[in-house]
């Protein structure tokens, strides 16, 4: 079965899972060709255009020099996929083209775990991340169905993303997609 055929299987299901999209993008030839395998996937960004829903997946570098502390770099690549067909519609290298030319996209920008999550247990952190992934699914489903997002879900999404996002990376994410992060990451 070809890769395209196997992706088209997803069309038959109305539930889109962000975790599956994040996982499946790594199996595409484009990813293998242009993104270093060791790059970590950042926070996905939903996008709606002409009634179709896409996901921008940022990828960034991470370096583990000392135990319990990982150095994080700003996103180095962005891949946009149609979240239903999984067809890649855009690839951007942020080191070649970005909407914040004054920002330094090449040097270390922050650490993991940052202060807000450093006091959590691994389990607590995983649970929170899992919750956010669940909220992504709801959010994408609303965009696909053309229904509006419940205010409580909106607030919860904002709250969890605010906790999990490394503060030093916020300017980069806001540069990538000001409307999305401007909405969910209020100053």
């Amino acid at each position: 079965m070809s890769e395209l055929e196997s992706h088209s299987l997803s069309v038959e299901n109305s539930f889109i899972s962000i975790e599956k999209i994040v996982k499946d993008i790594r199996k595409t030839p484009l990813f293998r060709q242009v993104v270093p395998m060791e790059a970590v996937t950042g926070w996905p960004i939903p996008l709606r255009k002409n009634g179709r829903v896409f996901i921008i997946l940022p990828f960034y570098g991470a370096q583990n020099k000392e135990k319990g502390k990982t150095i994080l770099y700003p996103p180095l690549a962005l891949i946009t996929v149609d979240c239903i067909t999984m067809v890649v519609v855009e690839y951007i290298s942020t080191r070649f083209k970005n909407s914040w030319p004054d920002g330094n996209w090449e040097t270390a920008a922050g650490y993991f775990p940052h202060e807000a999550i450093s006091k959590m247990t691994i389990r607590e952190y995983k649970n929170l991340k899992q919750q956010l992934m669940g909220l992504y699914d709801i959010l994408i489903k609303c965009l696909i169905d053309g229904t509006e997002l419940d205010a409580e879900v909106d607030a919860k999404f904002s709250e969890i993303l605010g906790i999990l996002m490394e503060p030093n990376l916020i300017p980069f994410y806001k540069a990538i997609r000001p409307s999305f992060f401007g909405h969910f990451l209020k100053d």
Partner: protein, 655 residues
């Protein structure tokens, strides 16, 4: 869902644990028992997934692949093999396989080995079910089953054995999801659509799995065709019909050689996700809402005596304390009157039951008349007359479906009657009643109440409201399951226990009784050489009449036990409330007799307890809101109407 079901379940269990550890509950045996039973119900819950479909559609392969079974011995698959028996598989620490054998009413459980399964479940080795096998019950240490998943494999649509069809029907209304398997090589047939239509109204959580996609180059056409047909037959929007194409062979290859591409090709990840999503939604509504309803009410019940005692310890006004004592004595007297044999509510229950029975009997007669009319149209249909076995299956399934409808109707109306009687006997007491009795809450409590946001209150109220009906329907079903479902309980073995957790055991028992009327008739009719309409009709009509009699008998049995169950349940609740009032009165008297120093000291202790209870209530509210909002989100995403004010525009996603 804003959170996964298991996380919410863990939070609910944690809250129950905290309540059981609370010092203030130690002397209240009835609340400890109540919470422990809720806890056990949550821990031991069974999630039932029924796999249905015609013969040779790959159901057994699908289950083997889903459960990561590399050997195909649990659910035998072979080119020539067809499953002819209902099989359930659920978790246990070690593998146990039992077959339920023997003539109706005299079934026995027999332990067998894996290698022997084929002898019982396949048409080839157990032709015409000469072994009189009713069901296969498998318990397995498979980790995928550990969270309570029970998979029910059913024989093909229109199985030749009426008892097996009846068992399948008994499971359907209790199922969390139905996986309907059809082959990618052929579109859904009229027989399949007819069967789907019949069971769909009893369980709407359907996943249509198209199997064997590895055998077809362009299976998308079949999927589109199936979707169009299902949209038309089920009167659903196309997007509400979930179709998942899978390849059990690819999954099997993956299990053998670990090639990730095979797993992707199998598409089983998507099936797991779809099933998980459905189960989460349904379970939150069915299990967590009732559990939280009980938890919330228990917290308030526990708080009440402390509030009363705290008020008494203030010793501000002796006259007022005396008035409160009198009011409580009045309330106790009233509860005592409610416990008398000729109490008003018992008369009301009796009257209510008579009306209920009349109305159900009327609906029942109308229903039978519908079945008769439908049967007449079958007899007029030449294609159906040419296949008398199939014709009989249709009538049989009409009767099964009608009995499920009738029992659901009875449950619903009985729950309404229970609600009215609770009102009459003051069992739906809440904090407001305490205020009416003249007791004031402590300052912190007032503050909490004032701070409480309206929507929170609404959410919690909805949880409580939903809880009543669901808890009642469930508990009541369990009682009925235990009494009338005895047949199914014996027949189904461990499966009967959880089927009976609702009211499936009753239906199951009933349906299997009715199936008795059809047993033998199918073979006799199918073997008729003469396909003459009159001959066939003359053979079938007596079978129908016999099954009608059995249906009437089952309904009469239900009513015979229903009134007693309702009366016992309400009386028990009145008794618990009376005991609670008596304890309050005692505490009130003791506090009034205390020295002012002792009363002040006691006040401090009570304040600590009230603070703990308030904390527990806050935690309850948080979990309840999370569950409720999860269900609402699920409902909204299912396309239901929503309030515009609570929503936000999503223009941040627009490009």
């Amino acid at each position: 869902m804003s959170n996964s079901y298991n996380q919410l379940k863990e939070k609910t269990l944690l809250l129950i644990n905290k309540m059981l550890e609370f010092e203030g509950i130690k002397g209240s045996k009835e609340y400890i028992e109540l919470l422990s039973s809720v806890q056990n119900k949550l821990i031991n819950e069974k999630i039932i997934v029924v796999v249905a479909g015609e013969f040779k559609q790959g159901k057994s392969s699908l289950i083997n692949a889903y459960l990561n079974e590399r050997e195909h011995t649990l659910f035998p698959v072979d080119v020539e093999v067809t499953t002819n028996l209902v099989t359930t598989i659920s978790y246990d620490r070690e593998e146990k396989i039992n077959v339920i054998l023997g003539p109706s009413g005299k079934e026995k459980k027999q332990r067998i080995q894996r290698e022997e399964i084929k002898q019982y479940v396949t048409e080839q080795q157990n032709k015409g079910n000469k072994m009189e096998a009713k069901m296969l019950v498998v318990e397995s240490p498979n980790p995928l089953l550990k969270d309570g998943l029970t998979i029910v494999d059913t024989p093909g649509v229109g199985s030749m054995n009426p008892e097996h069809s009846a068992i399948t029907y008994a499971f359907i209304p209790n199922a969390d999801a139905v996986i309907y398997a059809s082959d990618a090589q052929t579109p859904l047939s009229e027989t399949e659509l007819d069967f789907i239509q019949r069971i769909y109204k009893h369980c709407k959580n359907f996943i249509f799995v198209v199997t064997k996609i590895d055998l077809v180059r362009d299976y998308q056409g079949i999927i589109q065709d199936n979707r169009n047909k299902l949209t038309k037959f089920l009167k659903e929007q196309p997007e509400n019909i979930k179709i998942v194409p899978v390849s059990s062979r690819a999954k099997s290859d993956y299990l053998k050689d670990g090639e990730e591409d095979d797993l992707i090709d199998s598409n089983f990840t998507l099936l797991e996700e779809t099933l998980g999503h459905i189960i989460r939604e349904r379970r939150a509504e069915l299990m967590l809402m009732p559990a939280l309803g009980t938890v919330g009410k228990t917290i308030l019940d526990l708080k009440r005596p402390f509030v009363v005692e705290w008020n008494a310890c203030q010793q501000e006004n002796k006259q007022k304390t005396l008035e409160k004592q009198n009011e409580l004595q009045e309330a106790i007297k009233q509860k005592q009157q409610f416990m008398e044999k000729n109490a008003e509510w018992i008369m009301a229950l009796s009257d209510g039951m008579k009306k209920l029975q009349q109305s159900v009997n009327y609906d029942f007669d109308m229903g039978l008349s519908d079945i008769q009319q439908k049967a007449n149209t079958y007899f007029e249909d030449n294609k159906k007359v040419a296949k008398p076995g199939y014709l009989l299956s249709l009538i049989e399934s009409d009767i099964n479906s009608f009995m499920i409808d009738t029992s659901e109707n009875i449950m619903k109306r009985a729950a309404q009657l229970h609600g009215q009687l609770s009102e009459l006997t003051g069992l739906n007491i809440n904090q407001v009643e305490l205020e009416e009795l003249g007791f004031q809450f402590d300052d912190e409590d007032k503050e909490i109440q004032a701070k409480r946001v309206d929507k929170f209150r609404k959410s919690v109220a909805a949880v409580k409201g939903g809880a009543f009906n669901l808890t009642y329907a469930g508990g009541f079903g369990a009682v009925l399951g235990g009494i009338i479902g005895g047949v199914a309980g014996t027949l189904l073995g461990p499966a009967g226990t959880y089927a009976g957790a609702y009211y499936g055991a009753m239906i199951g028992g009933g349906l299997i009784g009715i199936a008795g009327a059809f047993t033998g008739a199918k073979d006799a009719i199918s073997n008729l050489d003469d396909k003459d309409r009159t001959v066939i009709k003359n053979k079938i009509v007596p079978v129908m009449n016999d099954s009608y009699k059995k249906c009437r008998y089952i309904i009469a049995e239900v009513f015979g036990n229903l009134e007693k169950s309702l009366r016992d349940d309400l009386r028990e609740q009145i008794k618990i409330q009376k005991v609670q009032y008596e304890e309050m009165l005692e505490k009130l008297k003791a506090a009034a007799a205390m020295s002012s120093e002792d009363a002040a000291e006691r006040s401090k202790t009570i304040e600590r307890s009230i603070k703990t209870i308030n904390d527990l209530y806050k935690q309850f509210e948080a979990v309840a809101i999370e569950v409720k909002s999860g269900i609402e989100v699920a409902e909204k995403t299912s396309g239901e109407q929503t309030t515009h004010s609570a929503r936000k525009s999503m223009d941040w996603a627009d490009m």
